[in-house]
C-alpha cells in the first residue's frame, strides 16, 4: 500500500471511528466525574481535535511491505502505547487530568476505543470476506 492510499483508506476511517468513540467516552467519563460541568459550542471541537491526535500514532502502522503477523502485533502494541501517552499528555497539559482515578479512567477509555476501532475494522473485513465467499460460490456455480 502506498502512503497516499494508507492515509486516505486507513487513517481517514480510523479518524472518523475514533471521533465517534471519543464523543461517547467524553460523555461517559464526564458524567461519572464532573456531572455538573456545562460547556459551550467549542466543546464540539474537542472530539475532532482528539480524533486527529488519536489518529496520528497510526502512522507507525504504515509499511510499504506487507507486515508479518508478529510485526503487525508489535506495531499495534507500539501504537497503543503512543496513543495512551500522547492523549494523556495533551489532557494533562491542559489541566484536564486532575487525579490518578481520572488518568486511569481515561487510559481505560482509550484502550476500549482502540479495541473498538480494531473490532469495527475486523467486522468490516468479516463482511467483505462473506461477500467474497458468496461471489466465489456464484463463480463456482454452487
Amino acid at each position: 500500500m502506498d502512503f497516499k492510499t494508507f492515509i486516505f483508506k486507513k487513517m481517514v476511517i480510523s479518524y472518523f471511528i475514533a471521533t465517534t468513540c471519543i464523543t461517547g467516552a467524553m460523555a461517559v467519563v464526564g458524567m461519572l466525574f464532573e456531572p455538573t460541568v456545562r460547556f459551550g459550542y467549542e466543546a464540539f471541537l474537542s472530539p475532532l481535535l482528539f480524533g486527529a491526535i488519536a489518529t496520528l500514532p497510526g502512522l507507525v502502522q504504515y509499511s510499504k511491505k506487507e507486515l508479518s503477523l508478529q510485526q503487525t502485533l508489535l506495531r499495534d502494541l507500539i501504537h497503543l502505547i503512543l496513543l495512551e501517552t500522547l492523549i494523556l499528555l495533551v489532557l494533562w497539559a491542559n489541566g484536564m487530568v486532575t487525579s490518578g482515578a481520572i488518568a486511569l479512567s481515561l487510559a481505560l477509555a482509550i484502550l476500549i476505543i482502540d479495541l473498538t476501532v480494531h473490532l469495527v475494522m475486523w467486522i468490516n473485513d468479516k463482511k467483505s470476506a462473506r461477500e467474497l465467499t458468496s461471489g466465489l460460490k456464484k463463480l463456482q456455480g454452487v
Partner: protein, 151 residues
C-alpha cells in the same frame, strides 16, 4: 440451460459448444471451466515427468526460483515462471493472491479475514493460503462483478 452429451470416436475432436443469447459472466465461467478441463501440464515428481490436468491444480507456488503445482495428492515441479502461469491462466480462474502464490479460485472453499487487511483462502483440501492486502481489490473486482469501488 439444456445440456447434451454426444459420444464421438476421436479424442482430438472433443469440443464444448455453448449456444447462448448473450455472453454473460456465467457463460464465460463455463467457458473458463471447459478450457481448464482440456489443459494439461507437465511436471516433475520424484525425478519423473508426469502429465496432469490444470483443473486438478489447487495452487501454484514459487519457492526460491522454483515453481510447484499442488494437486490433491501430489506436488509437481514445473519449468515455468509464476508470472507466465499467471498470464496464461488468469482467464481460467487462476488468481495471483500474493508474491509467490497463484491460486485456483474454483478450489477455494471459503474466505475469512486475517489481520492487517489481508484475507485467508481456505482451500478445499483444507490448506490455507494468505491473500495479500495488495491483491484484495483485484479479487473483489473479479468476485463482485465490477461493483467494487475501493473501500
Amino acid at each position: 440451460m439444456k445440456v447434451w452429451i454426444k459420444r464421438i470416436a476421436n479424442k482430438t475432436e472433443e469440443q464444448v459448444v455453448i449456444e447462448c443469447v448473450e455472453v454473460t459472466p456465467e457463460v464465460e465461467s463455463i467457458q473458463s471451466f471447459a478450457l481448464t478441463k482440456g489443459t494439461t501440464l507437465t511436471g516433475m515428481l520424484n525425478e519423473r515427468l508426469y502429465q496432469f490436468n490444470l483443473a486438478e491444480v489447487f495452487y501454484f507456488e514459487a519457492v526460491d526460483e522454483r515453481v510447484f503445482a499442488y494437486t490433491k495428492a501430489n506436488s509437481y515441479e514445473l519449468k515455468i515462471r509464476l508470472y507466465e502461469l499467471e498470464n496464461a491462466y488468469h482467464s481460467q480462474h487462476f488468481f495471483r493472491c500474493s508474491k509467490s502464490f497463484l491460486v485456483n479460485l474454483m478450489k477455494i472453499e471459503s474466505i475469512s479475514p486475517a489481520l492487517n487487511g489481508r484475507f485467508m483462502a481456505h482451500m478445499k483440501n483444507q490448506e490455507r493460503i494468505i491473500i495479500s492486502r495488495q491483491y484484495v481489490p483485484e479479487l473483489k473486482r473479479i468476485l463482485m462483478g465490477g461493483t467494487y469501488h475501493g473501500l
